[in-house]
């Protein structure tokens, strides 16, 4: 089974945060780190969505990509506003950095693809990415969020990811194998 490097990096980054054997001194991220992870996770999907909306010739893939941009921009706006309100400066961590580099690698790979190959790579990645992010949300980000408003925002963002994942899975079924 072929797993792209970008996805492995992303999965590893988020997996590291969910297990006790993280390379950082503390496995559990603090609120500032959680805020940054959220913003980076959204930004990675916004960038991928912008590329797909521009490049894809498939109407459903384009619409899905536009929804990714629209929705993740909205969540990012809320997360950023909340961080400002709470006077929390989002803080980088090994996780957020891995997420960013994983996202950049995936973006570079997708820029070299086109047509049906592009669509498949984009949608397959969206399915895995949303599965991974949801796992991190449930196992790490929500349980470790100390501030009640941050926790509440993450909990209210969860249904969005569920919808995205289902949407991506349905889309995956319509694309040639």
């Amino acid at each position: 089974m072929f797993k792209p490097i970008a996805l492995t990096l992303t999965a590893a980054a988020l997996a590291a945060v969910t297990t006790a054997r993280a390379q950082e001194s503390s496995a559990a991220p603090n609120d500032a780190q959680i805020a940054m992870i959220t913003v980076v996770a959204d930004t990675v999907d916004i960038d991928a969505g912008k590329l797909a909306a521009e490049k894809s010739k498939n109407k459903e893939v384009k619409e899905f990509a536009e929804t990714m941009v629209r929705d993740h921009t909205a969540v990012n706006a809320k997360a950023t506003a909340l961080a400002k309100k709470l006077n929390v400066t989002p803080e980088d961590s090994a996780t957020s950095k891995s997420l960013k580099s994983g996202g950049d690698a995936q973006l570079a790979k997708m820029k070299s693809l086109s047509g049906a190959e592009f669509d498949k790579a984009y949608v397959d990645n969206e399915v895995s990415y949303h599965e991974t992010v949801m796992g991190a949300l449930d196992k790490t980000l929500i349980p470790n969020a100390k501030n009640a408003e941050l926790k509440s925002l993450l909990e209210s963002a969860r249904p969005i990811f569920v919808q995205h994942l289902n949407h991506a899975k349905e889309l995956q079924k319509t694309l040639p194998k």
């Binding site: 619409e63 536009e66 929804t67 629209r70 929705d71 909205a74 969540v75 809320k78 209210s156 963002a157 249904p159 969005i160 569920v162 919808q163 289902n166 949407h167 349905e170």
Partner: protein
């Protein structure tokens, strides 16, 4: 003052300071403005609310020479969009009612089907549609195909 006649009762009001007709005019104006504001406040400071209130008032009064007012005036019923859901997912209304979709969610949504399309409803915004025919209409959010709702018009 003139002398009082037998059986006459006189009431004299004396003010401790010089009071002129202008004072009464100002007090009357202040009272009028206050009453106006109270009236508006109870109708929710909008022209729409005032118009709606007056329309409902008018429609419930019988006017001679005109057909009797409708027994059930049309209502505005809300569907709240929250957590990627239409709440309630199935809404029962009567013909002539208006449904208002209120976006209480984080992301934009739509309420769309063959017979109506709200276009993008931003968070905190609303969109209304009046249903005139008795039918069952299934609709969905065009951004999130998994989000579905039904309006059952009796």
């Amino acid at each position: 003052m003139r002398a009082m006649k037998r059986g006459e009762i006189r009431i004299v009001v004396r003010f401790s300071a010089a009071v002129t007709w202008w004072h009464f005019a100002v007090y009357a104006l202040v009272l009028f403005v206050a009453a106006f504001c109270v009236g508006r406040y109870s109708r929710g400071f909008t022209r729409e609310a005032s118009v709606a209130a007056s329309v409902l008032t008018i429609s419930s009064r019988a006017v001679p020479g005109l057909p009797p007012p409708k027994a059930n005036p049309s209502d505005v019923i809300q569907v709240i969009i929250r957590g990627m859901e239409f709440l309630p997912a199935k809404l029962e209304i009567k013909a002539g009612d208006t449904v208002e979709w209120k976006n209480d969610d984080i992301t934009p949504h739509t309420a769309t089907c063959a017979s109506f399309d709200s276009g993008s409803i931003a968070p905190d915004e609303s969109w209304r549609h009046t249903f005139t025919a008795a039918e069952e209409i299934a609709y969905a959010c065009t951004f999130h195909p998994g989000m579905k709702g039904v309006v059952s018009v009796k």
